[in-house]
């Protein structure tokens, strides 16, 4: 362990900048975006410095810590606000600050016509600070603060244009779905505290291997619930599509590259719990496999370019979650896919933003078509991201996704075949729906109104896209060559260095299969979308209808959770009003009635009062007389 004094600035700088921009208000309108971008860039520089410092150290000296202050100290229980930068955190720090800075730069141009641009940047900085706290906290409690912080930033940014009620509702939906997950995380922390008496990663890890299996499974299941909420995994995935209501840079940064991957971070960080509980691991792979197919199927039917990309994000995170459930080797591949996905998906979202920028905020892909001639740079950067996500060699997705498919097949037995098959099918559908997005948007003939004047975006927008496109091309090769990522993360996720058993399928076989299904998917999409009607056809199969409606996830939630919930609240309200309030009111009413009768005695005539007094006195005397008799 090494100590570092720089870590706190990673969080403090964006946090202070965010507070400053919010407090100064309109006074900061002129330079707010510049400050926010500068701060985000500085955080990236600190991250890079720390990365090189870490590389120069070796072995156990690599992780760096910084103690900020003692947060709470109760008897023998102590929680410190401490930061931990290890091989896993640094990968996230570089991704968050790097992609974050590019998206800050992009947003300067993208949001230039918005009068609330300063507020937007304040929220972005708040998000960067919270996300860095999430990945840098050295205990579950510190992580929880960041976890809630990114939820808040996400809510604020989805509802950034909350003058539109639908957008405000989308923000609320995301917040509520996230809260369900947050309950899981807080329960996991409580169980960990009750079982182990500590909430720090190191402490829980120490206790984990002699804890009861039931406790570990409970913690694992609760952590999975938390991850499902934050990472839009089944069954809490319904919020991600609506979250596209936020400005496109937000979708790129928060709802594609960073925040939604927090669930993968959480599971990878808690690897000692999942490795010790086969049940929890099984739950993780089931959730991952369901979501990767779910998202892919939904992605095939969306006409809104951002929602199609959101469905794709859901599916790709499904791959990552699946990988984290596959044991020590899976974690490294999950993080690798997370980083490559951060590049290509953020790049494609920024590309979608660029298209919307040129097309008067039109998002319906049926109204695009033939944009390649008008937006060459966007087309190229988007195209590189596209090649990366479908997994064409030598682009990034090829290295990271094929590894996950391969690991899934090698999980052994029927489980391996099912998971590998699901992952392979997902790859085919991914190729299909991403080809559909590209064909509908950039190829074919023009289908937009004459009012629209598509044009290439300014340099401030295309330069970040180009950098991310370079990442989409190279990151996979860089991370995979010489098993760089696996070796880098090995001390964190595989400290005992597991030897892998028999390989069920050779890598070359898996790659060949993956390329074959990808080619099939691409060809199917090209054939199917040779002509595209401007209005979505209504005479479609039940499957298309279901996919258009997110496989009835919303209807399910409304029928099973929302309506019974509403019934329950109205029932409780009725009980409260009629029975509880009724009892209280009955007491009051009867007292009032009795008082009404007694009040008649008070007729205001002094002589009556005197008579009553006299009678009372006589009664008193009579009583005394009788008693003493």
């Amino acid at each position: 362990m090494t100590t570092s004094n720089l870590l706190v600035y990673l969080i403090a700088l964006p946090l202070i900048s965010s507070a400053l921009l919010l407090i100064l208000g309109r006074k900061a309108d002129k330079w707010g975006h510049l400050l926010a971008t500068l701060v985000s860039g500085s955080a990236f520089v600190i991250g890079v410095l720390e990365f090189f410092a870490m590389r120069s150290r070796s072995g156990d000296a690599r992780p760096a810590t910084q103690h900020i202050f003692t947060w709470m100290s109760v008897g023998s229980f102590q929680v410190d606000a401490s930061l931990l930068l290890d091989q896993l955190s640094i990968a996230f720090v570089l991704l968050i600050t790097g992609v974050g800075t590019l998206i800050h730069i992009y947003s300067i141009a993208y949001m230039s016509h918005d009068r609330d641009r300063r507020r937007f940047f304040a929220y972005l900085n708040l998000f960067i600070a919270a996300m860095l706290l999430l990945v840098l906290g050295d205990s579950y409690l510190n992580l929880y603060v960041g976890w809630e912080g990114v939820g808040l930033a996400s809510y604020l940014l989805i509802g950034f244009w909350n003058q539109k009620p639908a957008y405000a509702t989308a923000a609320k939906k995301a917040f509520v779905a996230n809260r369900v997950g947050d309950v899981g995380l807080s329960l996991a922390i409580m169980i960990a505290f009750a079982q182990f008496g500590t909430v720090s990663f190191a402490g829980v890890k120490e206790h984990a291997h002699h804890a009861s299996p039931a406790a570990l499974t409970a913690i694992g299941a609760m952590l999975l619930l938390a991850a499902a909420g934050k990472s839009a995994q089944f069954p809490l995935q319904s919020w991600l599509g609506d979250a596209m209501a936020g400005p496109t840079p937000v979708s790129a940064l928060i709802h594609a590259a960073t925040m939604v991957t927090a669930g993968v971070y959480l599971i990878t960080r808690s690897n000692f719990i999942f490795d010790a509980s086969a049940t929890a691991q099984l739950l993780v792979v089931i959730v991952g496999a369901i979501t990767l197919l779910f998202g892919a199927i939904v992605g095939t039917a969306k006409d809104d370019i951002k929602k199609a990309l959101a469905a794709s994000t859901m599916s790709q995170i499904g791959y990552m979650i699946l990988a984290t459930g596959l044991g020590p080797i899976g974690y490294a591949f999950a993080i690798m896919h997370l980083i490559t996905h951060g590049f290509f998906k953020a790049g494609m979202f920024l590309g979608a933003g660029s298209v919307m920028h040129g097309m008067d905020d039109e998002v319906n892909m049926r109204r695009f078509g033939g944009l390649a001639r008008f937006m060459p740079i966007t087309t190229v950067t988007f195209g590189l991201g596209y090649l990366a996500i479908i997994g064409v060699p030598p682009f990034a997705g090829f290295y990271s996704k094929d590894k996950i498919i391969e690991t899934a097949f090698n999980a052994g037995g029927l489980k391996g075949i099912l998971l590998g098959g699901a992952a392979l099918l997902g790859a085919a559908i991914t190729a299909f729906y991403m080809t559909r997005v590209v064909v509908l948007t950039f190829a074919g003939s023009k289908r937009w109104d004459d009012k629209a004047h598509p044009h290439e975006s300014p340099a401030l927008m295309w330069i970040p896209m180009a950098i991310l496109a370079v990442g989409s091309v190279t990151s996979g090769f860089l991370l995979a060559s010489g098993n760089a990522m696996v070796n880098w993360l090995q001390p964190i996720v595989d400290p005992h260095h597991h030897e892998h058993g028999e390989e069920f399928l050779k890598p070359i076989v898996v790659s060949t299969m993956a390329i074959v299904v990808v080619v099939l998917g691409v060809l199917a999409a090209i054939v199917k979308y040779r002509t595209v009607p401007v209005e979505a056809p209504t005479e479609v199969s039940v499957f298309t209808k279901a996919a258009r409606k997110d496989l009835y996830q919303d209807s399910f939630n409304e029928a099973v959770l929302m309506r019974p919930g509403q019934k329950l609240t109205s029932g409780l309200l009725f009980t409260d009003k009629s029975i509880v309030d009724g009892a209280v009111k009955a007491v009051g009413f009867s007292l009032q009635t009795i008082a009404g009768w007694i009040r008649n005695l008070q007729n205001g005539f002094i002589r009556t009062y005197a008579l009553v007094m006299l009678i009372g006195l006589l009664a008193l005397i009579a009583t005394v007389w009788v008693v003493t008799l």
């Binding site: 009040r599 008649n600 008070q602 007729n603 205001g604 005539f605 002094i606 002589r607 005197a610 008579l611 006299l614």
Partner: protein, 99 residues
């Protein structure tokens, strides 16, 4: 003469006063009846003082007289004020303190 006759007289006077307070409407008469009740008590006090052979009852009767004097001053002032404002000394008219 039997000393208990004073007590009977006191009781009779008190009863007359009490009945007067209850049945009469004229504030002045009611007031006089109250005075009558007070003096009936005084008589009882003094009688008991005599019976017990100490001065406690006599002292108490002085207190009663002082209180009665104060009461007369305030009571008459109230009656006069009410009469000035309402041109009536009937206590049934001054019944605003009802519900």
């Amino acid at each position: 003469m039997d000393i208990s006759n004073y007590l009977y007289l006191s009781a009779i006077l008190f009863t007359i006063g009490a009945v007067g307070v209850v049945v009469r409407r004229n504030a002045i008469v009611v007031f006089m009846c109250v005075e009558l009740m007070l003096n009936a008590t005084n008589l009882a006090f003094v009688t008991f003082s005599r019976i017990h052979g100490n001065l406690d009852g006599q002292v108490a009767s002085f207190f009663t007289m002082v209180v009665a004097a104060c009461e007369v001053v305030i009571g008459l002032a109230i009656i006069v004020t009410i009469y000035r404002s309402r041109r009536s000394a009937s206590i049934d008219d001054a019944s605003l303190l009802k519900r």
